[in-house]
Symmetry: C2
Subunit: 466 residues, 2 copies
Amino acid sequence: MTAPTGVLDALKAALGEGGWSQDPDRLAPKLVEWRGRWRGSTPLLALPGDLEQTAAVVRICAQAGVAITPQGGNTGLVNGQIPQGEILLSTERLNRVRDADPSDDVLVVEAGVTLAAVHKAAARIGRRFPLSLASEGSATVGGLISTNAGGVQVLRYGTMRDLVLGIEAVLPDGSVLPGLKRLRKDNTGYDLKHLLIGAEGTLGVVTAAALKLFPVPAGRATALCGLGSAADAVAFLALAKTATGGAVEAFELIGRTGIELAARNLGLRDPFSAPHPWCVLIETAAAEAGAAERLLETALAEGFEAGLLADAVVAQSESQAAALWNLREGQSAAQKPEGVVWKNDISVPVSSIPAFLQAADAAVQALAPGARVAAFGHVGDGNIHYNIAQPPGGDGAAFEALRDAGARAVNDVAASFGGSISAEHGLGAMKPAEAARYKSEAELAAQRAVRAALDPGRIMNPRVLF
Amino acid sequence: MTAPTGVLDALKAALGEGGWSQDPDRLAPKLVEWRGRWRGSTPLLALPGDLEQTAAVVRICAQAGVAITPQGGNTGLVNGQIPQGEILLSTERLNRVRDADPSDDVLVVEAGVTLAAVHKAAARIGRRFPLSLASEGSATVGGLISTNAGGVQVLRYGTMRDLVLGIEAVLPDGSVLPGLKRLRKDNTGYDLKHLLIGAEGTLGVVTAAALKLFPVPAGRATALCGLGSAADAVAFLALAKTATGGAVEAFELIGRTGIELAARNLGLRDPFSAPHPWCVLIETAAAEAGAAERLLETALAEGFEAGLLADAVVAQSESQAAALWNLREGQSAAQKPEGVVWKNDISVPVSSIPAFLQAADAAVQALAPGARVAAFGHVGDGNIHYNIAQPPGGDGAAFEALRDAGARAVNDVAASFGGSISAEHGLGAMKPAEAARYKSEAELAAQRAVRAALDPGRIMNPRVLF
């Protein structure tokens, strides 16, 4: 698709000076996915500076039937943000913090504000926005909403969907949805905000959001536990949630392979003398000073008594806690030197994690004997990063050639447990066909009907979703 | 609308013996709203016993263009559940608890299970479902989902929307949405479950749901505070949330008028010697034994130090706590003997509560001089039950005649603060026109487009919503 010159002229006029670009150097970083996996092109980079300009861009495009790809911080992993000839609408200039209110526990920010800036703005009024992920310096509110981002605190606070009170957006016809409410209760028809969350830019452009804030906990306590099985980890999570009354904020699994790769490739020390098959990093947070530590001790004591824990180390300082977190956060980096690694983004019900791991391991070994499963991730929300490194010293190209078959095998196993093939990243243009395999005709038909109703010309991110 | 005989015969055949009724005695309680405010009629009461029968009913009706009104526990307040000639689809026989799993913190129940039964099923596995409301013995899961019910714990746990992991439903064409997932993270297209939540039966029939469970807190502490102004109450809430790290589970406001009416009409004692303009009932809950009490004491001490509290009484026993709750829960009953009372269902941003109360009081006095505002309710989510009793000894009929104008005046004030005219109850067939006044054309158009896309024949609860 190429946009008619008249449309480009109309867009330039609506956006004014500084509101658009066709400069290859300016465009370049926005036309390549950050890992270099996808590259694209666009006739025009639109840089609206406010709601009205955003609405004008969409209206002009809708009337001319010209497609748009919205882009936030360009941190997406599933090719949802790279245009292939569409107008590229960047939220870069929608970067204002509009309001921060501790009485409402609300932060109102524009779509282009980064997650790191959200954290800072919340801290300035003594509050906390409890969503954290690795790309927080680049990832923006609009993208976090459009992909319903997750992170490590989902166990306690939920995903982005759970943290949004209101959304201001431009719908696919260029009309404005003025939904920037800061209400905790509002039942006046369909909640369109929840349609836009996770819609990956296909139902409109999010321009601003009212985000929920939370109190800052007085204390935090961190431990690493050694366990004999993934089943023990799941049982320990249930026990720990009960024992701490919900104060568990993180519960991260690391398999033996991951601990060993972190030692070999990153020089990170296994704190245990015995090689435990599984480790769990558990963190509690509580309002009262000292309570997080006491609650963690209680959970650990009950875990030992129940025979679920083989060993445990409690961090005695912030630097010790950071060292334990390094073991978890270094997992991807630790795998890199091992050659080709298959990744995925599955989730399963928490209770199914042990059976999923067993069945997936069997499927992987059948496909690629000797491949090394280095599973780690969020037990609390069933989102295990089920990564698989090539056999040691094996043929990387041969393993690479099996990547799609490997993904299919792991996805099939996840689906057989009622799981998801995209827990955190969305589908983008990369995974809709794969996702459709696991959905019923009724659901696909409903999704397509909703999209066609709101965007009959399919101008919003047309290559993405169903 | 009357259903053709052939359709009724087909429905009877699909439902089998015990699956339908035309017996006036059996139908009677389902054809009248529980306060007697609305009465209806139906050619047939359909009582499907499982998902397949529910799908068959909807499919037969969709093909014949015959409308359906779904009904749960018949506790609705906005005329969403009483048929006016439609087929009445009751979820009464969809009453099984399908699964309860402490590892997943999930309870899978059918739509006709009551909230009281949900509480019991959660307690049986040592967990808690943190949504409570007065009608919990009758209100059912399907209705709670379809109206996105609230209650007193929204401050900490959110509304029904926040407590649902998955939904199984029959869509308006009779197809089945098999969405009974128990995943905490799943991003594979539009989340249709969130369209069905709060859709008041217009987008299909919810047949079952996977609900989130939570740990049971070890302790709870309750106090009643006397305050000089609503602004002090809002400021104290912010302070208490910070001081307790989010352990505040209830924060309920009662105005002076309400305290006096409770004394006069229910014999409930004001625990304070001085008549404070406002009271707040605050409750904390925490994982550790003793922590709820300590956190409450901390919050109260800081409240006094900040000059926000004039007095406070802390419950020393469960019976003292129950007595404080009686003051709050008796508010509606305490108003009844005073004659005609206007009610509404507004919410505003928490920070706007004081200004809302001032502006609404002025609007009410302009309309009905001498009317007595007895405001009470949930400060934490901005959902103030802004009830207005007729002037003492005044003309009830004249005050009744002003009811609609009074509702309009209060709604206008709430809307001017970015509030909602239906915080908890939904719109039903009673309030869509009023709600439409406060919505943009773009939002109404989007709501109608989504509905038409999923239910082109408008057979699902046609008189309800937009």
